[in-house]
Symmetry: C3
Subunit: 424 residues, 3 copies
């Protein structure tokens, strides 16, 4: 996953355009079944309209000596996304109105966009800007070779059919330029999960979408809302899955969906000190998936959450910030969610009263002080396999890690002591 | 309100009689629409019977020199309310059986009544009583010029019609002699609220009653129970609203009525450290309004609660104990309850997914780090305006003070982003 | 109860056999109505089969000098319960494989059984075993005069008919040899409760059973399940009721039955610092009574809980561990449960609004500061006697100990201020 991220990192993605398509093409290399869709400029989705497509070829600020002092080729974050074209000589004062920097983070280039209003702008470090301020009298050549035109917005989708028509939704976004944790960790973990999911026949159908954030999810919902409302039993927004500093959970609107239940169990098991955020602290596509009237059961599992780490939305969110370990941790958390959803049945005891475990070789035939300790969890699972609790409930009541619980369930099923309840 | 209290303070109110009528007449000066009702002696209300009316003209204890050492004219608390007439010379030992003082509060005249059993008595400070004890051999002239006769019990009522037949009940009492916080703060705040309520057309009907405590509410319920049960959506007992030391809340029987919800929100906003008392610590007319089978949604907002401050039910509960600031605070808390009840609708988002706030000038069209901070509350209100939550729920979920919430609601309604749900 | 325990202590009880029958015969002396049932070897109950009956006549290990160094006559815990017969000379090494001791409790003989697999074994203190280890070369004469044969399993039952067909179940066990807290305290408290229950006509029917643990309850359920599920409203497993160190509560499967509610109230009253254990820490016949599909409302009140005190399941659980005070405390806790269940009606106020307590002599006719303090609880009971709360709810809401609550209820009923609701 880390090497996929390295490959994708240099591409200048935006809400629309060539970088977005290159990214989808690369992902198709990893997931050949990925279907790519294009939605034309002017398409209306609820309150929104797909804007012009943005093409960017080059952009720089040059000084009087012709030296490119701010250059899109050096870092694509230097250009405000969706900047309109310009080619002009101007004073520092004029230029300065189009500059964006972060006084509190002197070495970070901020990430700035203006999708819905025509503007142009350059982003630079506070240190670079301070240098420019030294020479207020200087003139600058500002050039942006961009094009805004009726084109389309692109996204990718892959539906892996399972036994059931009920679906698990995985959504990730592909519209940010060179940033690692808050962008590329999402699609690379999603691609790895696709490979994991499709390797085995599945109980549920999986729908994985690679979309531009916000507008992409709104467009997607405008085309698929009824189907999603009917079929999705749990969904996860895949974002910020790459660094190795924390595990985080962002709740759905009321924090009470099946996805929340699964996510909280997994995080409780793998990182009991994970950070739990309420929907008030949301910031990605759950804003749309959980909107009133949409009401999909979607939450987020993350490593360091967007907005909560200093490098967020700057050039410091780079390949050094994330790591193979960080990505593996994010992947593993979501993989465990899938494993649980696949295995989370309701079981019921097959016999009245406790079974005679000793006769089945499951229990010491000598009873003495302490002899039942090892059986404690198995007997507790039997006691709560009453046809009402699913595995997550049993894990919760009996305080048994899910991995161990699945082993116990297997033994009990093999010995015909519990059986799976039919669900629909 | 403080000057109204000053006017009313000297009047010797009781369960019935002239002082009660004078008080109602004064209130009619403030609220001309106030209707006055009289219920005759012998009237039966549930388990109770209206007793004889009590008329008091004068009362004193004089020493052998003819000096009035305890004098009703000096402080009407000196006389036990409902004392029967007497005119006799007696020893200190005889007199002492009819004296009431508070050993623990040497300078306070206690407030004592005997409505339902014929007695006579004088109340005095422990210090005064100690002086009498110095001369056990002395004789005293005890004179009470009172009359007990078939008369009536008086109360006032004003119903301000609103758009809806649903009612808000404000109940306060007017049966205590010269005490300020635990008596007059209630009726003066009620009178001021009447002036506030009637100044504007109202969504709800308001029913304000000025009654003698306990028996007055029982009589009132005996005449209006069915109507109140059908129409009252929230009610408040107005008492102890005048000092400036605390804010207090006394819950309804189960603490779960609409009145409780409103009161707790208001107090949380204006005085987060307010004191919350359960119904077990009740002491005013909520005892009747919330009785089993009556079950009206009534609670209390107070400043320092009856029974919880040392001056309570003594001559120390005087004009110095209360203050214009104290009364204003009490008035304001109840005014806010009314404002909320008037505005507390259920709203529903008009669009699926987030609206495009930028296009409406409600949101910066540039997205950069931190650019959405100011919008945070507005977006949260949109997320929870799902047709289920009322304003109080949204304030609670989103942790937004109600005043700010109302402003946000207005902006969203003006922009057609949310609409009010019909309620009945 | 302590002297009954002394009488029963020496008997060598087991899952079946003579000691069990002797114990039932002794209990019949205390409870003549006790019916004794026999279930034959081979009887199938759910997953279980009644094994052969075990008869034990004698058992010892003798050294080369013929001295009985481990002797069943000295302490019946020395023999593993259900040991098969043997009469052999063997080396220490051979013998050692059949010895059980507790390295961590050097002076305790452990209690060991092997009901369902043929074995023989001796239990001894770690100190005794260490002495044997001194002479690894020694030979021993091992003799167990036991018999295993098609016989039966015995249990006792007494049903005390009450006004209602609804039942309270008391279950205790009689299958352990000489142990006091974890065995005999249960049946002797049960016998004392029987005498208490049958002394008065009762609202409910009481079913008291004296059974061998685990298999006894499974057999009993196999014969009575449908009846119990239909009629039992609350049940208690009587075990570990004899020492004086703690009060303990073990919850039913979900901790939410009527028995749990009663038990928690009683323990909160008599020992607010009682230890509460969840069903995960179960260990007696609630394992069967609360099994999925059986689902009887059964919990346990104990003194020191099995498994939680060091003397448990060893020879140290003897007559010194328990005491008359300990047994009286255990008896009293269960007696209070019965008293509450008998008296726990739903009451409803007979009048609207507060009644005039003064007119009934229930309240001071003078009202002055503090005069109502003594009435506080009575007025609170009236306020919550609303036809919804049972006595336990009222005790809980009003924080009144149950004994005082019953007194208040009696006064209010006598004064026709509340009346009992019909229940079915």
């Amino acid at each position: 996953m880390y090497s996929w991220t390295s490959d994708l990192f240099p591409i200048c993605r935006s809400l629309t355009g060539r970088g977005l398509r290159q990214t989808l093409a690369y992902l198709q290399g990893l997931v050949p079944e990925l279907q790519i869709y294009e939605v034309p400029t002017g398409y209306k989705a609820f309150d929104w309209t797909v804007p012009d497509e943005w093409e960017i070829n080059n952009a720089f600020i040059a000084n009087e000596a012709g030296e490119r002092i701010i250059d899109f080729q050096v870092n694509n974050l230097h250009l405000m996304s969706y900047s309109e074209p310009i080619d002009a000589i101007m004073s520092f004062a004029e230029l300065d109105e189009h500059l964006y920097s972060l006084p509190s983070q002197a070495d970070a280039i901020p990430y700035v966009t203006s999708y819905y209003k025509r503007r142009w702008g350059f982003c630079l470090t506070e240190r670079q800007r301070a240098a420019l301020r030294q020479r207020p009298e200087a003139l600058y050549h500002v050039k942006i070779e961009s094009r805004l035109f009726a084109g389309s917005l692109s996204y990718g989708e892959y539906v892996i059919k399972g036994e059931s028509k009920q679906e698990v939704l995985l959504s990730t976004y592909i519209c940010h330029p060179s940033m690692a944790n808050n962008e590329l960790s999402g699609p690379v973990v999603a691609a790895a999960l696709v490979q994991y999911i499709k390797a085995t026949p599945r109980r549920y159908t999986y729908r994985i979408i690679f979309i531009p954030e916000t507008l992409g999810s709104i467009v997607y919902l405008s085309k698929n809302l009824e189907h999603l409302q009917k079929h999705v039993i749990a969904g996860f927004v895949l974002t910020c899955l790459g660094d190795n500093r924390a595990y985080s959970y962002l709740a759905s609107r009321y924090g009470n969906t099946y996805a929340d239940k699964v996510a909280k169990h997994v995080l409780h098991d793998i990182a009991p000190d994970y950070k739990a955020y309420s929907f008030l602290q949301r910031g990605s596509d759950e804003r749309q998936f959980c909107a009133p009237g949409v009401d999909l059961p979607v939450c987020s599992i993350m490593r360091s959450k967007y907005g909560e780490y200093p490098e967020y939305h700057t050039s410091l969110d780079d390949m050094q910030l994330i790591s193979p370990e960080g990505l593996a941790g994010g992947y593993n958390a979501l993989k465990q969610c899938i494993d649980i959803i696949e295995n989370n049945h309701i079981y019921k005891a097959a016999l009245l009263c406790e079974p005679q475990m000793g006769a089945r070789g499951l229990y010491s035939t000598i009873s003495h002080k302490g002899s039942t300790d090892g059986m404690h969890n198995m007997m507790n699972v039997l006691a709560y396999a009453d046809g009402k609790n699913d595995l997550l409930d049993i894990a919760d009541i009996c305080n048994i890690p899910l991995v161990e619980l699945l082993q116990i369930i297997n033994i009990l099923v093999e010995n015909s002591l519990i059986f799976k309840q039919e669900t629909n």
